[in-house]
Amino acid sequence: MDFPFLVEMVPQLVDGFWTTLSLWLLSLSAGLVGAIFMAMMRMSSSGWLREPAKAFITVIRGTPLLIQVYILYYGFGNLFAQMPSIRYSVFWPVLREGYWYAWAALTISFAAYGGEILRGGIAGVPKGEIEAARSLGLRSWMTSLLIILPRALRISLPALGGQNIILLKSTVLASTITVMDLLGVANYIRMQTFRVYEPLLAVTAVFVILTWISAQIVTWLERRYSYGAR
């Protein structure tokens, strides 16, 4: 281990860290919203909503995320580049960046996996609580928003926390589509200097710390929202 070299690569790694962190948090927040919609569609009484959601979840969960990233970036990315209406539009600076394709793939993935978790959570909300809310005069949408959703989120919190860590670890796939996240930076340093251990081990350490922190946050949330003894 060469410590001066390690210090030398810190600025680059810090840049990569911010990319990884923003990619993670942005896809987490969008993915959570998507997961709520997926769960609602999945539990809808209308087959026109339920079946597409079911098929979508099966496809997303049955194929490797890396392929989904490639389909979005290479597949749709090339398609967009060939359409003059998109190629010369104001959206091109966004649609050119691998970052946003990675974000989209991660968001879709979290929505699919998280949707299934939330579905279990919604099914686990005690019937009596829903009936109590209705008998207090809450409308159906208010019951969903104020009673079912918070309770379902609390029930699924441990599983969502696990999925969140999977999401964090999946952000490294962005490095395969030219994004300079932590692994992208490490690979760049590796190719420039022919040193394998230092950059990769530094990134490994960052991920271990990030995983630990997010596990702590979930534990704290679980305790914070435990609503008395259970």
Partner: protein, 239 residues
């Protein structure tokens, strides 16, 4: 470039211009590395489970370090790390026993080792969870019958544990299959890598990646059928 379906049909066919044969070979390789790494993971998981539950202090600590670290590090990062360091470590180990250069690690073995090493950590947790939830009286009954430890494990603990572990093991198979696509990043020629090469040479990016995704989905759905059947079989008499 307009999408031309008849051209694409030729490109995925088995003619001189077609990628059909390569894609099928890629799919076979994907299944091979998934199965091999899964089996390696099973073995590592059993050892890890033993170390965590009945090993000595050092074995327990090592197993804890193994599962904590591996599960905290992105699989792609571990694969790159193990792929580049694994070969040199293996060469060094061979050097120690005086076989330097005589036995080298093939790409296949390196990839399987990397994937299996990752799966082993998750397997350890699945087995440990299953082992903990087997009723205690059964182990005591086995002991009371004076069955030797290995036979007790094979005849009593393992069959009981397997039933509980099966959903977890099924999930891990699905993830082993999906994780195997990651080794395309280090240049190993499995299904996704073949698709990538085909896509970049023919410029049919979207179509080839969609096709590869469909092939993965097919493998995953077919194996699901087997897992469901196995689960029903092991659960007979319980539901």
């Amino acid at each position: 470039m307009q999408f031309d379906f008849s051209t694409f049909l030729v490109l995925i066919g088995f003619g001189p211009m077609g990628w059909g044969a390569q894609l099928l070979r890629g799919a076979a390789t994907t299944i091979e590395i998934s199965v091999a790494s899964y089996v390696l993971g099973l073995a590592l998981g059993l050892v890890g489970c033993w170390a965590k539950l009945s090993g000595g202090l050092i074995a327990t600590r090592v197993a804890e370090l193994y599962t904590t670290l591996v599960r905290a590090i992105p699989a792609l990062l571990l694969i790159i790390l193990l792929y580049y360091t694994g070969t040199s470590m293996f060469d060094a180990a061979m050097g120690l026993v005086g076989l330097k250069g005589r036995i080298t690690l093939s790409g296949f073995a390196t990839v399987v080792f990397a994937l299996g090493f990752i799966k082993g950590a998750y397997m350890t947790e699945v087995f440990r969870g299953a082992m903990v939830s087997t009723p205690k009286g059964i182990h005591e009954a086995g002991k009371a019958l004076a069955l030797p430890p290995l036979i007790r494990f094979r005849l009593v603990t393992f069959p009981l544990m397997l039933r509980i572990a099966l959903p977890g093991l099924g999930n891990l198979w699905q993830s082993a299959l999906k994780d195997s696509a990651l080794v395309s990043v280090v240049g190993f020629e499995e299904l996704l890598n073949v698709g990538k090469i085909a896509a970049s040479q023919t410029k049919f990016y979207l179509s080839f990646f969609l096709l590869v995704a469909a092939m993965f989905l097919a493998i995953s759905l077919i194996s699901n059928l087997f897992i469901d059947r196995l689960e029903r079989r092991l659960n007979r008499g319980f539901v």
